[in-house]
Symmetry: C2
Subunit: 440 residues, 2 copies
């Protein structure tokens, strides 16, 4: 790519982003009714045009049938069943409370001078996702309900599907709802545009990458825009001596095998030395039957003769398959230290029957989701009851864990007075005094 | 500086930051009582050791008395009065509610499977500030109350004062309170260390720069760590035709002159064309009497013969002195567009007596603080009733506007079950169903 070509990408993109940011200011004015009406029409348009969308998806599948694996092909593929679920998902988003305009606080600073803190849409959101074409209606429904604007780019594998969704759903929707600004949803076409978009922090307020670890790492390293997402999901369970054995085995197996490719699947099992012999004799045969490959610390090798020895690198590896690292720890504190040191602050749990130990674990583990006596696989926006999910965040600021509509809003302070000036409130004997009376 | 020297800075710093991050995990466990006890002792130590602190400050003043201007020297200087205020500030922080451990939400996902969303300390905070030595106790009291750990660096102008505060307040405090980890507050010594610190996103969770526009811009451009702060404060007032004239003049003057160097001082005054002749004839003589220099748009020049012509650059300039840009706008929408386009999203207000217009302005202006009929100078953590202020943020994510204790916390999800696994909740005829019953 030549420099002149790059700068033409930049010029065109800058103008698109400027328009998209203007569209955000229009979106922020929409009423809940208008947003819900548009969502209902979106659901209707998806249903009416599903055959065109499926046809475009078929072209994508044919183009990509060689050179990619079966599981990716599965994610690429749309079918009537998935589309029914997507429409149901949009109906769920309609039923969720509007996240904007909530009164988060109210303080009377002085008579007639009242401060309100109100939730507002966040801004122009940049979303980069891979493979799955069904991500598009999920994203667009959340963006619309939260009153934001979006620029986004799907994977090249789903180019036809995404373009069809724009042509047969987003464009007619925008035309039919005259209150929707033209540029509320902008589909970028090339990787160069994404790369350039990451530089426009004056327009784009938040970037959400949904895809491989590499994609997320690349984006985090190449932008000053806040990024909402997660690169790794190295999740742990710690089996405390007070754990009930059958329950612990069942939860550990579910956490590992229920969907091993998910970011909330178990990667490292920490077993307290006091329970290790009993636990491993119950766990090892089930793990073997389920096809789990174990990688064990030297101490655990004594109980798991069929395991391979784990190296230091295993403690930070997200396998994403049926491999499981196993380590014997000396104590609760040892387990917590291991998790905080080697984990990805995503989802970590304890299996125990001791209220004090459980409370300590929940308090001391520094992760977005900390669990007791249930599967790590519950860490998910839908399962948490947040409605749809825009992503899962391992960042510490703004939004953490599974992120629904709440992660797409910010707030502003509104102060209404009747002529107050600051000079009356300062100095050694001020004319006026703050009351700071908290009202909400 | 040679490469080997740089890497020795890095090695030593990495180990300091690692210790500081460990200290954070200890801080996060402190009870409200422990934190308040430590704060009370901090106030006592400041009072007991004020003469040593004042002495060190005198050395700083003597070192810096040439080459810096009077206003900076004023900010450098500590005195007994300032110290009394600082002690009172700490007492106020003691009286504020603990921001950690709040129950932000509670949902029963199913019988015996309960999700709680709880506020938690944020992490290791990096703070870089210039000049004012009185920032140190303010920062440390907020950090302590919110259960975080801090690495910080003050300006070289206040080196002796800051070191004295560490030696006579922070060190004895940490020794006396055995529950405080050694490395909860780490003072960095050199600019090289700050530069290096910005690269350690695995340890530092948030950076707060407090100082010049250049300092903030430099930090924002040189780190992947989230930054809380503001580079610019280009604040506006819009005078609507319905405004009461005397009140409008009074508020505009206060917003400009009450403390012109502050980031919430008025920089651009937008006057509706329908009220321009009347407003300017009332405003111009007062502005002149107060020593305000006006820079006016061509249209406004007709009413302000003594003004200099404004250029495009004036609309984005933070003067920080008694200069004021003035522009005539056609309408509310024109004013809002000007503010959203040229402003810094800090603090912007309307002067009007029309409830509908006021509501539109408050909704449409995309700033952290939007005001009606009061001075922009009210945008301040203390005046908002937040207690002390760690900074003012013009970012859109996490914390916005004046930031008190709430901007120093995050949240985590805690899910407690009694053996639930995900496989029972999925498939065509699942054994279990989510109830998603919202309890808080």
């Amino acid at each position: 790519m030549t420099t002149s070509c790059q700068s033409s990408t930049h010029t065109q993109l800058a103008s698109q982003l400027k328009q998209a940011k203007q569209a955000f200011y229009q979106m922020a004015k929409l009423t809940t009714c208008q947003k819900n009406d548009a969502l209902a029409l979106m659901a209707q348009l998806i249903d009416q045009n599903k055959h065109r969308w499926l046809e475009a998806n078929l072209t994508d599948l044919q183009t990509n049938q060689t050179g990619i694996d079966a599981s990716l092909l599965q994610r690429l593929k749309l079918d009537e069943g998935k589309i029914v679920q997507l429409v149901q998902g949009i109906e769920q988003v309609i039923s969720l409370e509007d996240p904007c305009g909530k009164l988060l606080g109210k303080t009377e600073l002085d008579a007639g001078l009242v401060l309100e803190k109100k939730s507002v849409p966040l801004g122009l959101i940049g979303i980069i996702f891979e493979a799955r074409p069904d991500v598009m209606p999920q994203i667009l429904s959340l963006i619309l309900k939260s009153g934001n604007a979006v620029v986004f780019k799907g994977g090249t594998e789903t180019k036809q599907s995404n373009q069809a969704f724009m042509d047969y759903v987003v464009k007619p929707l925008t035309q039919a709802c005259d209150y929707l600004p033209q540029s509320w949803a902008t589909l970028l076409e090339s990787r160069e545009e994404v790369q350039a978009m990451l530089q426009y922090h004056q327009y784009v307020d938040l970037v959400i990458p949904r895809g491989s670890n590499q994609l997320v790492q690349h984006i985090m390293a190449n932008t000053r825009i806040p990024v909402l997402g997660h690169a790794d999901g190295v999740c742990h369970l710690y089996v405390h001596p007070s754990a009930s054995m059958a329950e612990a085995v069942n939860i550990a197996i579910d956490s590992k095998i229920q969907y091993p490719a998910a970011c909330n699947a178990l990667e490292t099992l920490l077993v307290d030395k006091a329970i290790a012999p009993a636990f491993f004799s119950a766990f090892a045969p089930v793990a073997k039957a389920e096809g789990i490959t174990l990688k064990a610390c030297p101490h655990a090798m004594a109980y798991l003769p069929e395991a391979a020895p784990a190296t230091e690198a295993d403690w930070t590896t997200e396998y994403g398959d049926l491999t499981l690292a196993v380590k014997i720890v000396d104590s609760l504190e040892d387990a917590v230290n291991h998790i905080n040191t080697f984990g990805s602050h995503h989802t970590d749990g304890i299996l125990c029957n001791d209220a004090f130990v459980q409370a300590l674990f929940l308090a001391m583990v520094d992760s977005a989701s900390v669990f007791a006596n249930c599967s790590t696989r519950f860490a998910d926006g839908f399962r948490f009851g947040l409605g749809a999910e825009i992503g899962i965040s391992t960042a510490r600021t703004h939004a953490r864990g599974p992120v629904g509509l709440e992660g797409l809003v910010s707030y502003k302070y509104q102060l209404v007075g009747n002529g107050q000036v600051v000079k009356d409130y300062v100095g050694t004997s001020p004319k006026s005094h703050f009351t700071h009376k908290i009202m909400v």
